[in-house]
């Protein structure tokens, strides 16, 4: 998906000249043998469950009475259209994707740019500190921040807000929802993987390009916009796609969704409640399918738009898409 910038990997053209088709077939067979764990897992854990979920979504399957499931056609989907909670979840997830995800991208980009600055000393320790919150379980992060924003005892009031003369937090905090933006703050706090993707990409930008831009009289900001951004655009795209998945319920590299699903991924939170509080698996499956379709649509749009703003240095890059 993201491709090499400076050194081209070996071209996918002819590798070892095979004199006859038999050897070629042998190569393909061995290759497929190596791929078999994934192919098997893809069929058993992805394709089959997605299809089974489609079947469930057409029934009134209940977790407690699995044998009484009847085929009810599109009734679940019809019910979805008039279910305000489901629409709320869908809009909420979309809203998260449109607000928090760009913020996450910006912060990751900013941190990566800061740590790429050659004026800075002690980078490796700073890098480790930035990555540190990303290896902590989500519940731990939740407890830490809940304590931190506690109106009477928390440090946020006593160390930051009051000394700065800002209005203190007064609400009695019982849950995460009482603190606006806490979910976003926590998401930004554990930004490690996104940061590393951007940082890694920035390290790959060749120094010559910067020198050339510098000679042309481009200032630091101009160099960042016209050199860095286009070259690391594949990394930005990659982060965007990963964040999209987590906004709609999934975990790539980092499991953050489940605990905060109400606030980080409202649609997933609603599906979970239909599934495990109402035990209505048929309807939950229908909702999951609606969400799946929505995610796939957005992904398709993103990939379409990628052609115009993501920079692919080699023709080889099409392979990934």
């Amino acid at each position: 998906m993201l491709n090499s910038l400076s050194h081209a990997p070996a071209p996918p053209g002819p590798k070892i000249a095979h004199p006859n088709a038999g050897l070629r077939r042998r190569e393909a067979t061995i290759g497929l043998l190596f791929l078999s764990p994934w192919i098997l897992g893809y069929i058993l854990l992805k394709v089959l469950p997605i299809l089974v979920a489609l079947w469930y979504s057409l029934t009134d399957f209940q977790l407690l009475h699995p044998d009484n499931a009847r085929f009810i056609g599109l009734a679940n989907y019809v019910y979805f259209v008039t279910d305000p909670e489901a629409w709320g979840g869908l809009v909420g997830s979309l809203g998260y994707f449109l607000t928090t995800v760009p913020l996450e991208l910006l912060v990751a980009l900013g941190l990566a740019a800061l740590l790429s600055s050659d004026r800075l000393h002690g980078k490796s320790i700073l890098r480790a500190i930035i990555f540190m919150p990303s290896v902590i379980p989500a519940s731990a992060i939740f407890f830490i921040w809940l304590g931190l924003v506690n109106p009477s005892a928390g440090w946020l009031n006593r160390l930051v807000i009051l000394p700065l003369g800002l209005p203190p937090i007064v609400a009695s905090i019982t849950g995460i929802d009482n603190v606006p933006y806490l979910a976003t703050i926590m998401a930004l706090w554990s930004i490690g993987p996104g940061f590393l993707i951007m940082y890694g990409a920035m390290q790959g930008v060749s120094k010559e390009l910067y020198e050339a831009a510098h000679l042309d009289g481009a200032g630091p900001l101009m160099r960042f916009i016209s050199v860095t951004l286009p070259i690391i655009s594949p990394a930005i795209f990659f982060s965007l796609v990963i964040d999209l998945t987590s906004a709609f319920g999934g975990s790539v590299l980092l499991d953050r969704g489940f605990l905060f699903s109400e606030s980080l991924s409202p649609m997933e939170g609603y599906i979970n409640s239909v599934m495990f509080s109402q035990y209505n698996l048929g309807y939950a499956a229908a909702l999951a399918w609606v969400m799946f379709a929505a995610t796939m649509t957005i992904t398709f749009i993103l990939f379409r738009s990628a052609r115009s703003w993501v920079y692919f240095p080699e023709e080889d890059s099409h392979e990934a898409f």
């Binding site: 990997p9 902590i136 379980p137 605990l259 599934m275």
Partner: protein
């Protein structure tokens, strides 16, 4: 501490030395400020957790009146009774005396340094006096926590799950990445596209059918006579472990990027020596991919340590089978977890393992992500 080095290139600009220095100074100042805010943002929450976890119950009961650091209000034992120390303003300056008698208009104190002098009469309202606080650290919260929750057992459980699934995810992902990077397979590019697209499939869509299937498997498999293992890994861990044996799309992607950057001449040389595909993988490819394999292994370990979705779904709080993440999620409702100090202690205990792992491999891990990023 010297934080910034001068950028020699900046001097090439045709500006006067003074403007340049001023400009550089402003830049450095802004940079320091940004780094300071950044450090505060990342370290403040962690320090809060650390500091709170070593506070005692007295301070936790009345946090607002205590200082921010872990502290106690020292008591002085006078004739068998404990009396709290107060800061008492006297003609000779502020004294730290223990308050014995509290009245509206006067109080009686005892001087811990000179108890023989007996009770000291002091006129004034004791209510306006400040208590004495001394820095004091206690591990009581950790003791309470270990009594309430079997954290060490949960950690062992998670380590077992992490270890078994680590073997699975490494073996399968390396094999698949090798297959994608070195073999000409009809439709291979298309297959790789499908692989990448699996990253984008939200887990919710596959959750319901896999949940039902695994629940049935967990009940059915133990009844099979040939599946009676001499060692006992609880069957409900199956859904936490088994899926990782089918490789992980994102790890395959990372590994393949790295494998492709290894020159093919090396495989060809090995092939001429009569090495088969497996030997090429183990003797040529893997020795050159140790950094990326380590990174993948670490990422997987962090993932398992944090994984809550399946851990709470299939295991939850089942005694003897709990995973760290679901214990931690339920920590606030466990009996004995009464104060925030215990909660912060649980967070601290659970995060020690991944943080030690992160810092142990810090240079390696980060270094490798850079190489991987370069590959992108």
């Amino acid at each position: 501490m010297k934080l910034f080095k001068r950028n020699a290139r900046e001097k090439k600009l045709g500006e006067s030395a003074l403007t340049l220095r001023l400009w550089e100074f402003t830049g450095s100042a802004i940079l320091s400020l940004v780094v300071f805010i950044l450090l505060a943002a990342y370290l403040l929450p962690l320090s809060y957790m650390f500091v709170t976890s070593v506070k005692g119950p007295a301070q936790m009961a009345n946090q607002a009146s205590y200082p921010l650091y872990p502290s106690v209000n020292p008591q002085y034992n006078y004739q068998g009774v404990d009396y709290p120390l107060m800061k008492v303003p006297t003609a000779d300056g502020v004294k730290e005396w223990a308050i014995v008698t509290k009245r509206r208009t006067y109080s009686e104190f005892i001087d811990p340094h000179n108890p023989g002098a007996g009770l000291i009469h002091w006129d004034g309202n004791w209510y306006k006096l400040e208590k004495v606080y001394r820095f004091s650290v206690t591990l009581q919260a950790f003791g309470d926590l270990l009594k309430a929750a079997r954290i060490s057992q949960a950690m062992t459980n998670t380590l077992i799950v992490a270890l078994i699934s680590e073997i699975g995810v490494l073996l399968s992902s390396i094999a698949v990445a090798y297959g994608f990077s070195r073999f000409r397979i009809p439709g291979g590019k298309w297959l790789f596209f499908v692989l990448i697209s699996t990253i984008l499939i939200p887990e919710t869509i596959t959750l319901i059918p896999t949940y039902i299937a695994f629940k049935k498997l967990i009940l059915w498999l133990p009844t099979l006579p040939f599946l009676q293992f001499p060692f006992s890994v609880p069957w409900p861990w199956l859904p936490l472990i088994l899926p990782h044996f089918f490789s992980s799309a994102i790890f395959v992607f990372l590994l393949r990027q790295n494998f492709r950057s290894i020159p093919r001449d090396l495989d060809e040389a090995a092939m001429l020596d009569g090495a088969g595909p497996l030997r090429i993988l183990t003797l040529v490819i893997l020795p050159q991919s140790i950094p990326v394999v380590t990174t993948v292994a670490l990422l997987h370990f962090f993932y398992i340590w944090n994984e809550l979705r399946h851990a709470s779904l299939y295991v939850g709080l089942t005694p003897g089978q709990q995973q760290v993440s679901s214990i931690l999620q339920n920590a606030p409702v466990l009996p004995g977890v009464s104060t925030d100090a215990v909660l912060q202690a649980s967070a601290l205990l659970v995060m020690i393992v991944p943080i030690v792992v992160l810092f142990a491999f810090q240079r390696f891990f980060m270094q490798d992500m850079i190489v991987t990023g370069l590959e992108k």
